[in-house]
């Protein structure tokens, strides 16, 4: 907890709340992976971590390091941009692979609900 001592209390609280919110959304997303029943439902859950989860984490690091270094620290925003651009591609790839398998195994165009 060394260099975080450099944060004024209000900023520490703000950063803490943002980090907890981000972690919370990422956790609920991961929980969804366990709790939802089938593959097509499960793929929805991780998007929580990749959208609001990432947003709050990025916001927390921008606030934290901007205040610590006394100037706007923006490169972390790129993490958010690249995650937003790449996660849909991974998810679509997974879903399409599952769909292809369903079609081959069941011989139906539409997978079962």
């Amino acid at each position: 907890m060394n260099h975080l001592d450099g944060l004024p209390p209000w900023a520490a609280v703000l950063v803490g709340v943002l980090v907890l919110l981000g972690a919370g959304f990422a956790f609920i997303g991961s929980l969804g992976l366990v709790r939802l029943r089938d593959f097509y439902k499960r793929v929805h859950a991780p998007t929580l971590g990749s959208t609001l989860g990432t947003f709050f984490m990025v916001a927390a690091s921008v606030v934290c390091f901007s205040i610590l270094q006394g100037r706007p620290v923006l490169p972390v925003i790129l993490i958010g941009v690249f995650l937003t651009l790449t996660t849909p591609i991974t998810l679509m790839l997974l879903v399409r692979a599952a769909l292809y398998r369903h079609r081959v195994e069941d011989g139906r165009q539409m997978p079962p609900r």
Binding site: F25, I28, G29, L31, G32, R35, L36, Y40, K41, V43, H44, A45, T47, L48, S50, T51, L52, V73, L74, P75, I77, L78, V81, T84, L85, T87, P88, L91, M92, V95, R96, L99, M110, P111, R113
Partner: protein
């Protein structure tokens, strides 16, 4: 200049990563951005034309709002004890044909929790999505077409 949008984005990303506006950095960033945009041009990707920038900004804000709302909705579904909800596939006939418009639609639908782009039949131009909390198919068809497809059509084609 080929692909000015992409070159601009690459330059911005480079400057953000370098965190400086020194002439050297600027020059190197410019060289990289132009070089990569030129290389991208060699892939013979069809040119992207953005016809309506204000509409694009409005669509972006709308998508951000929708993402926040669906985050809360999906979190609610996950946290409910034994959720009674029906998931299912929805087929949506599209009028949008521009490849960049379709790519943007794919990103919008997939990054919004609760909906995922599953398949697109380019011959019939029918899109299939999977919806986590499916109450009424026609509402989803209407939502996707009105909220996203219509503006994307105006932006890209």
């Amino acid at each position: 200049m080929p692909h000015p949008l992409m070159a601009g984005f690459l330059l911005l990303a480079w400057l953000l990563l370098q965190q400086s506006l020194a002439p050297g950095t600027l020059l190197a960033g410019l060289a990289i951005a132009l070089g990569l945009a030129w290389a991208f041009g060699k892939l013979r990707a069809p040119p992207a034309r953005v016809r309506n920038v204000p509409l694009m900004v409005r669509l972006l804000l709308r998508v951000i709002g929708d993402i926040v709302r669906s985050n809360l909705a999906v979190a609610g579904i996950v946290l409910r004890r034994r959720g009674r909800f029906v998931s299912g596939f929805v087929q949506i006939p599209l009028e949008l044909t521009d490849p960049y418009g379709l790519a943007a639609l794919a990103c919008i639908i997939t990054s919004t929790p609760g909906t995922i782009w599953v398949d697109h039949d380019s011959r019939r131009n029918v899109l299939m999505i999977h919806v986590l909390d499916l109450v009424d198919e026609s509402i989803w068809i209407d939502t996707i077409k009105r909220r996203y497809e219509q503006p994307l059509k105006e932006i890209f084609q």
